[in-house]
């Protein structure tokens, strides 16, 4: 039979998802995909909270998840508004196009 998932398996899954999100932020050159990778990272963190919650028998983790999701919503809203403003300016969505503040 399959092995029962332990806390370690949940943490490992969370680490895998976090690493995937980080890779996405580093490697992709489309601002929207970068924002999506940030969401993947936030979800990995949420999974850690809920898994440890179950392990310790508390509910604090779920409340923190609630706040993380809410903050992610606010961040996505503002991030996408910035993307829209940028796109209106330059018709491009690669982060390399917006380098006017570089030396």
């Amino acid at each position: 039979m399959l092995p029962e998932p332990t806390l370690n398996s949940y943490l490992m899954l969370s680490a895998v998802l976090f690493a995937i999100g980080t890779a996405g932020v580093f490697l992709r050159r489309n601002i929207i995909t970068i924002l999506l990778s940030v969401e993947v990272m936030l979800n990995a963190v949420n999974l850690t909270f809920v898994a440890v919650d179950r392990f310790r028998g508390q509910v604090d983790g779920q409340i923190i998840v609630f706040f993380v999701i809410t903050v992610a919503a606010a961040e996505a809203a503002v991030g996408l508004a910035i993307v829209i403003a940028l796109f209106r300016h330059k018709e491009m969505l690669t982060p390399d196009a917006f380098t006017s503040l570089k030396w």
Binding site: F18, N46, F55, L93
Partner: protein
Amino acid sequence: MDALLFWILAAGAVTASVLVIGQRNPMRSVLLLIVSFVALAGLYVLLGSPFAAVIQIIIYTGAIMVLFLFVVMLLNVPTEEIPIGRAARLLGGAAPRRFGAVISAVLALELFWAIGRMTVLNMPGGDVKPTEVHDIGVRLFRDYAFAFEATSVLILVAMVGAVILARKEPR
């Protein structure tokens, strides 16, 4: 049964996430991310937190991803990635990407090493009793009341900010 569900949902979440960062078409990325979120919501239910699962689906897939979809559709985000100019080729060329890939690989290896060194901690056995929403409500509004109010101010600020940022300049 629970173990099988865990492995299926975990495989689904990881596959969908890998495809999210691998897809060229941002529309497909958004849809695959929704699949990943739903798999994670299933994992939350397995962990006895139906409230977290439902909140994830309502807010993340029901609202945030709809917002992403709207932006992708309205801006008609292009699929190909086109470098422009010398500066961009410097920034977007092969070397920074290799550097980024190495950094992410190092992060992944560190995390796996750290978790691998943990002693194996088993989840409390027996039937998973789903958490009562009543308990969550009591903790949320008593111990975390300040965070709750601060979050509502944050959302207000984000709403106003988003409207201002995305507004067309009056010509």
